[in-house]
Amino acid sequence: MEGNYYPLLKWILLPPLAGFIANGLGGKKFLGEKAGGIIGSAAIFVSLVFAALSFSDLLNLPADHRLLRDTFYTWISAGSFFVDAAFRFDPLSAVMALIITGVSLLIHIYSTGYMKGDAGCNRYFAYLNLFVFFMLVLVLADNPLVMFVGWEGVGLCSYLLIGFWYEDPEKASAGKKAFITNRVGDAGFLLGLMLLFSLLAAAGAPAMDFASLEKNAPLLASATALGMAAPTLICLLLFFGATGKSAQFPLHVWLPDAMAGPTPVSALIHAATMVTAGVYMLARLHFLYELAPKALEVVLLTGCFTAFFAAVIALLQKDIKKVLAYSTVSQLGYMFMAAGAGAFSASVFHLATHAFFKALLFLGAGSVIHGMRGEQDMFKMGGLRNYMPHTFLLMAAGWLAISGVPGLSGFYSKDLILEKVFEHGGRWVWAAGVLTAGLTAFYTTRLVILTFLRQPRTSSSHAHESPLSMTLPMAALAVLALGGGFLLKDSLLVFLEPAAGVGAGINPHATLLMAVSTGAGLSGIAAAFLLTLPGPAAFLKLTLAPAHALAFNKFYVDEIYGLLAVRPLKFISGKLLFKLLDAGLIDGVMVNGTAQAFYKAASSLRRIQNGRLDHYALIFTLGVAVMLYWII
């Protein structure tokens, strides 16, 4: 088997699992809150150290042979179908593993401050560690099936953490919504995998590890399924899974509701790591997508539409976390645009920078919410820069980075994506991307203005600065958000090129494109400063009232789904399945019916037992006579 055996890989995976077990079993009684936080963070730290060690070993290998593998055991062996519990560490996995462990470590440390005094602190760290474990399984997996285990595992942890404060029914149901929406996508993912395997097995190449898949994928080029080219159908099904996990239209509805969870969870799972699983999956299976240009077109258009659509919704949200949630949906749209344009390494680059600045923004929002004692409505904030100066400065770093101010991380990755989209995706898609960049700058600036600048609107003066355990991780992320793009812009793409396909090329219009997208970002910032002044804001509200209502209510997507999917389902499950099938057929006919049948049969049979000895004796004698007749 290709790739070097590398036993250190299991040491990246195991510490978070050990942390989960320790916190899950030890709990509040044996460990207590403080030890729980320390164990949780230490587990991630060990994992980060081993990821960094593996990374340096990977760098020492020649660029074409950067692949480390570790097979634990044969997981499934059924006929020609072999799946190993195997893990790989190649440039793409390495980048993902470093982002995941690095950002997780910072967020774990932040959480020790944020969750202080919460009754479920140990449960929280147990879930968080379990999440990191599954996320690492997802990105280190050596075949799509192990990847699917991680894929489902992070979904589970997302559900557990969104509904972390399960006493509140609204939060518990937000968790359910996330889980069910993801399940819809996962069905597509699973179908895609099955189709992939069955076609490959039919072509005589049933091996499922990524290296063999890459080698054997061209076998599928001429196959068809359901009247479509097989790669296109497989890619579309897998991409449907990605839309669920990465909150792309039409399955984006769960992510804004997922903000019900603790804010560090939103930063880790719903901004930096889990929601990027779809992007990672596309980059990992880029060889399949390159066989299916039609599927890539769908990815491009979906990403473009989602980016624009979510940015428009984000413009008018009141809740600080909802703005960031829609912003995440929109930025994920950017990543899919890049993938759709065939620039998988650009999408991973944006994934990395987005992990930095969006985690920073979320942690900043968490710090604000912490300082305001749970208030999330931006219209009740304002002027916080005087009360929370550190948070303000750190948040400003995230704000400038996401807005695409030249030199910061968001600028490089977004610019690269727009350049690639201009080359491969067409002008209209590019124009929508640029417009979205402007909108992004606008809503983030609006968030910062409403929260930190101008005059306090309500009880902002009660706000207090957050402890060091919260501001220090934010500072680390701020450094990455400011400088990460500059540091990574060339090295990352070169590093990823063997794994993720398309590298950086020189575009003749690069400077012009860069100027346009930067201009869009800066004018977005300027527009936000102007339009949030009381005068223009009131004017806009008056003139654009219907559009405002439409965007504020998220284009009524939830309501449409309620009408089209939830109500028919409730009808079918309530009236048909529950009343008719369950209560009527299963309970009525099958369970109670069986009992009734025995009761009726017994009540007619009891007449034989008339209690008369002579009758019994007669029957007995006749019985013996019959038996004798039989024998003789």
Partner: protein, 96 residues
Amino acid sequence: MNAYPLAAISYALFALAAAGFLTCGSLVRMLMFLELMLNAANIAIVALGPQPASQAYALMLFAVAAAEAGVGLALIIAMASAFKTLEAENIKDLKG
């Protein structure tokens, strides 16, 4: 010795006893008919079985029959005191 006449006596005795058992109503008589059936079986064993082992079986069966009669009579006495009757058709508490 020709065993067939003895066997014929045994069958006849068994049939008579069984008929008596089925037709009579009193528990005491039923018990006596039971004993008769047992004796018919005894005769059949002695007549048709291998000698002399079957004679030993017959002796053992006497002992068993005596014990059975003792238990049966005890039961009948208990029933007589409980139900104040020994007619089988009047004792039907086990009617379902």
